[in-house]
Structures are given as C-alpha cells and as structure tokens.
Subunit: 328 residues, 2 copies
C-alpha cells in the first residue's frame, strides 16, 4: 500500500510538472537575442547550482511604465487624463473659457499647450489631481480608465499595454521575482489600474507623488490631496525612489528613455549580483510609434549611447515583438 | 485505476490538511479575548462564504515597531545605536570630549541628554546616520545588531522581539495577509534586520527617512545619505506614509502609543471592509516594563482613551501573553 501511494503521488506530481513545462514562456516575443537573454538570465539566477543563483527575496525587477509597459503617444496618458478632466469640469468653471492654461485645453490649442511652463502644469495638476480625498481621486481615475478612449487608436488606454511585457511580468513572477513599477508618473494615478492590467498591486508601484494631509471629517479619517509635489520619481529620483520604497537594488530593470538612465545604472553597475537591463526602443512606426533621440517628452539619447558600453539590450519593438498591444 | 487514484489523492490531501490543522496558532498567547478576537477576525475575512470575506490582495496588516514588535526601554534601540556609534567614532574626534551633545553621550550624562533639543538630535543624526552611502549604513547597522547588547537585559537587541507578535506575523502571512511595519523609526535602520527577525522584507517596511542623493563615484552608482530629514512616519505621518507606500488601507493595525493613534483610526474608521486594531499595553514590570500615559518617549494616553470607543482591543502583556521575548 505504501509503495503504491508513493508511486501514485509521484505520477500525480509528474503530471502537473509536465503541464507547467509545456507552456513556453514569452510567446509574443520573437526568438531573437532579447528573448534569449531574458530566459538565460532567469534560468541562471533561479538555478540553485549556478554560481549566479539569487535567492527569491532578492529577485527584484523594476519596470518603467510610460513607453515601457504601455504606450505614451501622442502624450503621456496621464496628461490625456488631466485634459479630459479639465473638459469634464469646465461646465462648473465658465471663467476657464478666458483663462490660460484652461482655455488652450478646452480649445485643443496645441501651439499654446506645447509652450506650457511649470506654472501652467502646476495649475492643471492643482485642479485635476488635488483638492479631493485620495479615495475620490482613485474613483475618478478608475472611472476615466474604464470609459476614456485613445484619440488615435480609439480603444481604452489599457488596451495599449504591451502584450510582450505582460508576458514578461508573468514569467518573472512565476520565477519568484517581485515585479515593481518605477515610473515618473503619478503613483496614485497608476495604482487605480495597475493591479488589473499588470498584476502589480499598489504597494509595488513607485512613482511621483503629491503631498497628502490626514484629517478627521465628520468622524471619519480622510487624506486630502494637496496641490504640492512631494517627490518626482524620474532620472536620479528613480534610484532614490527605489531605495526609499523597495530598500533593495533590483537585479533587472526595463526602461525606454533617458528618464530611466540612472535606474539602469543603479541596477547593473554592481558586482555583488548578476543583473540585466533592457531598453524598449520605439522603432515601429507602423504598429506603434517611432521616436528616440529628439522626442520632446521621452528623449532616448544618453541611455541609448550607454547601452552598448553597459551591455544593456535594446529591444526592437519591430523585430523582437510578434505582437505589440494586449488587445490589438 | 481512476477511482483508486482519486481516492489516494484524497487521502494524501487529507493527511496534509490534518497536519496543518494540528498546529495551533499563536501558542504564546493565553486563551483570552485578544487571541480569540484575532482568530475570529482572520477566520471571517478568509472565509469565502462569509459576508466579511476580504480578498487576499486587500489583507494588509500594519505593525508599529518600537514597543509593538520589540521592546523600547530604556530608550528606543535606534537611539542606543546612535549613542554606541558616537562612542565608536569618538577616537577619531577628540574635539567631542568638549563639545555637546557628544560630550554628554561619551560621559553617559543622562541629565544633559534628557534635555537635548531638536538641534542636538539632528547633530547626532548627522554624524551617525548621514555622510555615508546607503550600503555602508546598512553594513554598519548589520554589524551593530549582531554585536551590541541591551544595557539591562545583556542580550542582543533582536532577542527582545516579542514572541507572541512573531507568531501573529506568521499566522497572518499563513492566511495570505501582507504584513507591513509602519514605524516612526528610520526605515533603513529597520531594514537591516527586519527580514531575519520578523520575516518582513525591506519593501514592506515603512518608516522615517533621510534624503539620499544619487551620484556616480569611480564609475559606480552610489546613494549618499544626507543630513536632512525627508519624512517623519509618526502620528498623522503614519496614514500618510501608509498611503504613499502601500496605497491601500490596512484591515488590521497594531500599535502601542499615541504615535499610532491616527494609523489605528485610518485602519478602523471605515465602513467598506471589516477591520481590527489592537494596542499593546506595557503593564508587565516584572517580565518587561510598565508604562503608558506619562511616558516621555512612548506616551499612550489619547489612544488608550479612544480604544473603548473605537472597539480597539488593549493587549495586556501581563495577562494575554504567556511568553514575552523571542529568546527569554
């Protein structure tokens, strides 16, 4: 009896093991160098017999969001959110028809909007991202992400997340990595939808943030969003934000612009652990957009030059990805 | 064959289920109301058929550290670290023999130290917590926590973590809770040892922090710790820090002083989810220390008064805990 039970348990385990092996990882990636490097890296850091083995608690992977996990054209989607919000609030603010920067948004006056200085941006943020509780802001973003459509692709913004990156996030988590988003975008803007779209829970989202203020209102605690910036999670802010939030250096990082340069340096220029960094290169004008060195919002210049020197793989969206969007 | 296999799998599962049931949770807790409330709460929020069911991703539990997870007498252990550090550095600083606040530390002059104002505290922090890289600071704390001894108990500080709370952390994680530390203490001070002592990884530690600055030095990226405070995670800072770091309201919170008052309010004064908060009450002068309302460092006054009104359980260390310390 004992022999039979052991045997059947063995068969049972084998059956499940073979099911999980049968699923090939990263199906939306072409079988090019980028995919091969990822798989080789994951294999060696998860192999207990490898000199490059990394224990699960140190398997931290950091992903930029805009342009790395979802598209960012014609403008960062959080800017589209802010502009949509201004338009939604406009009926209560007739004065905006004659007041910049609101007038330019309401009239789709791109020439004026492109020249918006810091003052104009802060005025828009104050109206669209502050003056409400954190709960209310979360609900506003959730409603927008459910209903808003991309102006050129005419689909919900969350349809424009990159299918190969979704598969990469899942593949890493299946290998006991903890996947973090590390973005210049607003942390509370992202948290309203990253769990559903990426499987990344709020506590694994690092981003820019506004000051908040704890208050009791009618016997209930609230956090009011203030029109003041608390932290900008971009450029040198990325390694600083990673340290403050995660407290551990990632062993993998993915970005797409110079805003990610220092994060990639922080991840790879270390000798105590193996590491891998990659840059998503927007070179597919047909299926997505093509831009790099001179893009006004997402310049990829210094980081592109540093890629060869630092052994960072440049992912060609055109050649390395079979599919681009999660819902094509 | 098929019938037999199913049957054996059933037996197999039953065997493991009975093994896990045999381990009674929270063995170091007496069978009093506190323990019963914790178990009842965990049962209802993990029972899919309960109206109070909470999905795993929302099972956030927040724990204060000093006085809640480990002892805090005669002074916060991070202060002991700073004083030990001043003494270790003193040979390189002969001028400290005649310079306050260093002189008072070197001479164990408690009367002067008790009157240290903010300026003195910042001078001590600048010397002991800044001016080095984050990696160096981490190594300094790791070395201290391994070698330093508590002045009265004569054991390493990490022996003074509370065994009942260690069991509680493990019990919650076994029930798919994510356990966070939310402390007024320095986040980088705690992260050097919380994973080993509490099973809480660095990314689940929320605390006070210093500013850090990213730099390249000899081709390597470093983060320098600056002598400037970035965030104080205490009182109203606790719900603010929870929001910024976790992005979700906890459903359980544990504290021991008025510094935790707003965190307990933020956790429990909500109607969308069931919640549970408790206060560790230091009422065991024999096995630990006894203090509350008038303690100069860890006053428990407003929160103690609010406990009854808000249905927060006051844990009596004397009556509710069989054992106090992890290594008695």
């Amino acid at each position: 009896m004992r022999y039979k039970l052991n045997y059947l348990i063995f068969v049972f385990i084998l059956f499940f093991a073979s099911v999980s092996q049968a699923t090939e990882p990263l199906p939306s990636w072409n079988d090019t160098q980028a995919k091969q490097r990822i798989i080789q890296f994951v294999k060696k850091v998860t192999d207990k017999n490898s000199a490059d083995y990394v224990p699960p608690e140190e398997r931290i992977a950091a992903f930029d969001n805009d342009g790395t996990l979802w598209a960012e054209k014609p403008v960062f989607f959080q800017i589209a959110f802010a502009f949509d919000r201004i338009k939604a609030l406009a009926p209560e603010h007739p004065e905006w028809n004659n007041q910049q920067p609101f007038k330019a948004i309401l009239e789709n006056d791109h020439a004026t909007l492109e020249k918006l200085g810091q003052k104009g941006i802060l005025e828009i943020l104050a109206v669209t991202h502050a003056g409400m509780t954190t709960t209310d802001f979360n609900n506003i973003v959730k409603e927008w992400i459910k209903t808003a459509k991309h102006p050129q692709k005419h689909v919900p913004y969350t349809d424009l997340v990159y299918q190969p990156m979704i598969e990469l996030l899942e593949y890493l988590r299946a290998n006991e990595f903890v996947t973090f988003i590390v973005s210049g975008g607003g942390v509370d803007f992202m948290r309203a939808w990253t769990e559903k779209s990426y499987g990344v829970p709020p506590q694994q989202v690092v981003g820019s943030s506004a000051k908040v203020k704890f208050e009791m209102k009618d016997g209930k605690p609230i956090l009011m969003r203030l029109p003041e910036i608390f932290f900008i999670d971009d450029k040198t802010g990325k390694p600083e934000g990673i340290h403050r939030h995660i407290g551990r250096q990632p062993i993998m990082a993915f970005g797409n612009s110079d805003g990610d340069f220092e994060m990639l340096e922080w991840t790879t220029l270390r000798s105590d652990r193996p590491s891998l960094a990659m840059i998503v290169h927007h070179d597919d004008a047909e299926r997505e957009w093509a831009y790099d060195r001179h893009d006004p919002l997402a310049k990829l210049d210094v980081a592109l030059d540093a890629a060869k020197k630092n052994n960072w793989t440049v992912i060609s969206m055109k050649n390395d990805w079979k599919t681009i969007f999660a819902k094509p």
